[in-house]
């Protein structure tokens, strides 16, 4: 029996802007520790909303209402006196768009360590920065230009820098929002390899557009459709023996409204692409 890192209890999120949108309609889930869980589903089905509500990151935008709860190791994330930044330290987040902080490569990784007071000396900081850059296989590419702006790296390198930056905070859980979708295929592969290495040590929850990526990387798959949890299972059973009709349609690429191409027809390596792009 694997132990559970994160649990959601009837989690519902509503955007209350000009038009009220129920993005998540009461989702109860368990995310196993030290495994990689992939959240899949068509565009606009609440994948990113679910991810961001796990560390309360959706709260930084206005007009969001939330009910239900999230438990991190049996302690409530929402009903607590602990300041939210302390929670986000434990549940890290890697954004979809590779975004360097407006700092040098070195400072990007050191930033989290600094704000959380994790390092006492410059030597220790240097050492940690190197450790995390090595962890994401970026050290050899950047070790000679650590003072260069993070923004001058390639997008693939920036995304690995973002991973290193999040890891440096030493989170227990890492939330990854379609971290390869903005990357070229080769960079995407490098980032995937990095994630595959990391899931030994961290609980990773990843939103992805690509079923192939979920198949390759995930231990568990969560399928959302229009804010509802449709099915969750271990990766093998999920793809080989989907229980729900909607999952079957999605897995075989026959949810015709959102997807034009099926992944089987277009070859094993291609991603399913939403039609509206």
């Amino acid at each position: 029996m694997t132990d559970t890192a994160l649990t959601t209890e009837n989690l519902a999120v509503t955007y209350t802007g000009n038009r009220e949108v129920e993005a998540l309609k009461g989702v109860s889930l368990e995310f196993p520790a030290n495994q990689l869980t992939a959240i899949i589903g068509p565009s606009g089905c609440g994948k990113s909303t679910l991810l961001k509500s796990l560390n309360r990151l959706h709260e930084i935008q206005p007009n969001v209402e939330i009910t239900g709860d999230v438990l991190l190791r049996d302690r409530s994330v929402y009903n607590t006196d602990e300041p939210v930044p302390e929670l986000r330290k434990r549940i890290g987040y890697v954004p979809q768009k590779p975004t360097p902080l407006p700092l040098s490569i070195y400072e990007n990784v050191a930033y989290g360590l600094k704000i959380h007071g994790r390092c006492d000396s410059k030597d220790e900081l240097d050492e940690r920065v190197e450790t995390y850059l090595r962890k994401v296989n970026l050290w050899d590419e950047v070790k000679d230009r650590l003072d260069a702006p993070g923004a001058e790296l390639s997008t693939g390198q920036i995304q690995r820098l973002c991973l290193a930056r999040s890891l440096a905070v030493e989170p227990e859980v890492l939330l990854c929002d379609e971290v390869t979708s903005a990357l070229d295929p080769i960079s995407a592969e490098t980032v995937e390899e990095t994630l595959a290495d990391l899931k030994e040590e961290y609980t990773i929850i990843m939103v992805t557009h690509s079923m192939d990526q979920a198949k390759r990387l995930a231990d568990e798959v969560v399928f959302l459709y229009l804010g509802d949890l449709i099915e969750t299972n271990d990766t093998r059973s999920f793809f080989e023996n989907p229980q729900h009709e909607r999952t079957q349609q999605f897995v075989t690429g026959h949810t015709a409204v959102e997807y034009t191409e099926s992944s089987e027809e277009s070859g094993a390596d291609s991603e399913t692409v939403p039609a509206e792009r």
Binding site: P85, K97, L101, P102
Partner: protein
């Protein structure tokens, strides 16, 4: 008229208006630089000598007192105003204020920006009279500071708004507090903020109407915070109105100093902004 003729006509209009603006600018700058430069070359000492007793009548002495007067007013005013402007602009962002509130404040700031500077001058003058004081550096600093504040706030607000929201999200995602996130966004917006502060400085040092009634006039070196002091724009106005040709020529020399200072500031701001722009996400290479 067929489509291509319309296109050519529009192209002509666009090029014509651009050429007109550039021509006027080049004319103003070059006349000032050549005429002022010639005066300065013939008698470089006027830039650094204090005014003599009869300098308004016979061109006795230089305009160092006005250069210093301007700097003593604009430097402190810019520092104070920029501090307030950056704080206000941070407060107007979505983490601190509702969209409606910041819209209303921005509307007021636009009105203030559009207010003719002479109005600030007269307003501070009534304050001076009310408290029974005299015109001085101190009130000049206050008037220029108020004049610069909306300019710098609007620039900073725009810069913060156009900084990518992903920087904010990433900083929060790393466990940053609201304040740490605001500082990070500030860094990302630095090129725009520097531009705004330099713009405020340039407008402040070049404005005559605000300081006319508040800092006053003086034919001596600035003597203290609560003593009247001439500034460059006021000096240029006074000298250009003079009957004496030599005094009028000094107005060109003073204009030369002012215009070179403003050009220099803009170049410095470009260089500074460029240094920060390298670090901005989506900068040079992406």
């Amino acid at each position: 008229m067929d489509r291509y003729a319309k296109q050519r006509l529009f192209g002509l209009l666009a090029r014509g208006s651009a050429a007109l603006v550039v021509a006027v600018m080049v004319l103003v700058v070059s006349v000032t630089i050549f005429r002022g430069g010639r005066v300065l070359l013939t008698d470089p000492a006027i830039a650094v000598t204090p005014p003599g007793s009869r300098y308004m009548l016979e061109g006795d002495g230089g305009f160092l007192h006005a250069v210093l007067g301007s700097l003593f007013i604009v430097v402190p005013a810019t520092i104070a105003s920029a501090t307030l402007a950056v704080s206000t602009a941070i407060y107007l962002q979505s983490d601190y204020s509702s969209e409606r509130f910041s819209d209303v404040v921005n509307m007021f700031l636009n009105v203030l920006w559009g207010t003719p500077p002479i109005v600030y001058g007269v307003f501070i003058l009534t304050v001076i009279i009310a408290v029974g004081a005299q015109t001085s550096l101190f009130f000049g600093i206050i008037a220029i500071g108020i004049f610069q504040y909306p300019i710098m706030t609007r620039y900073t607000d725009e810069a913060l708004r156009s900084a990518p929201d992903t920087v904010r999200e990433a900083t929060y995602g790393l466990g940053g507090t609201r304040f740490e996130t605001a500082l990070m966004t500030l860094r990302a917006a630095m090129p725009g903020i520097i531009a705004g502060i330099i713009m405020g400085f340039a407008r402040g040092i070049g404005d005559a109407a605000t300081v006319l009634f508040t800092a006053g006039r003086s034919t001596r070196m600035p003597a203290g915070l609560f003593e009247p002091s001439t500034t460059l724009p006021v000096l240029i106005f006074d000298q250009a109105m003079s009957f004496n040709a030599e005094v009028r020529s000094h107005a060109y020399a003073a204009s030369f100093v002012l215009i070179v200072a403003v050009l220099g500031l803009i170049i410095v701001s470009k260089l500074l902004a460029g240094r920060y722009a390298r670090f901005a996400p989506g900068g040079r290479n992406s």
